[in-house]
């Protein structure tokens, strides 16, 4: 219970919340706590920036960057999904 009542977040906790934060999945209170931590922590601010950069770089991947087996995996996924839609 003591952890829940603490107002400040440890860096390790903050890092675990980055995706929920970017996804808008945090409660308003958790979001405020996260942003308060960021405001006082250059390391976690940098981590969040790196995470955004990672998403940007991943977005530039082309089909050729995947192995043939990985491409097949996706073709199979789509096929199965579409057959379930019908």
């Amino acid at each position: 219970m003591r952890l829940l009542l603490r107002r400040d977040l440890a860096c390790q906790q903050a890092v675990e919340l980055v995706t929920d934060y970017l996804e808008g999945a945090l409660s308003r209170r958790a979001r405020r706590r996260f942003e308060t931590h960021l405001a006082g922590c250059p390391h976690c601010t940098e981590y969040l920036a790196q995470m955004r950069e990672t998403i940007r770089l991943t977005g530039r991947l082309e089909p050729e960057d995947l192995t043939p087996r990985q491409r097949d995996e996706f073709v199979e996924l789509y096929r199965r999904w579409r057959s379930e839609q019908e």
Partner: protein, 59 residues
């Protein structure tokens, strides 16, 4: 991408390359919203580490 387990890779590619919404990805992979977010977090975190290693010339 080879470094990621299949499920993490699928979620990351559908979200960040194919730019599907989280709802679409949950539907395609038949997983819950929470599970989708956990896989996305693990996948992106691993990729972030790999990018960092690469920039630092560790690999």
């Amino acid at each position: 991408m080879d470094e990621l387990p299949a499920r993490q890779r699928e979620v990351v590619i559908l979200r960040d390359v194919e730019e599907m919404s989280s709802e679409e990805v949950c539907s395609v992979l038949a997983i819950s919203d929470g599970n989708q977010r956990v896989l996305l977090h693990r996948g992106r975190s691993r990729l972030r580490q790999l990018f960092e290693d690469e920039f630092r010339g560790v690999r």
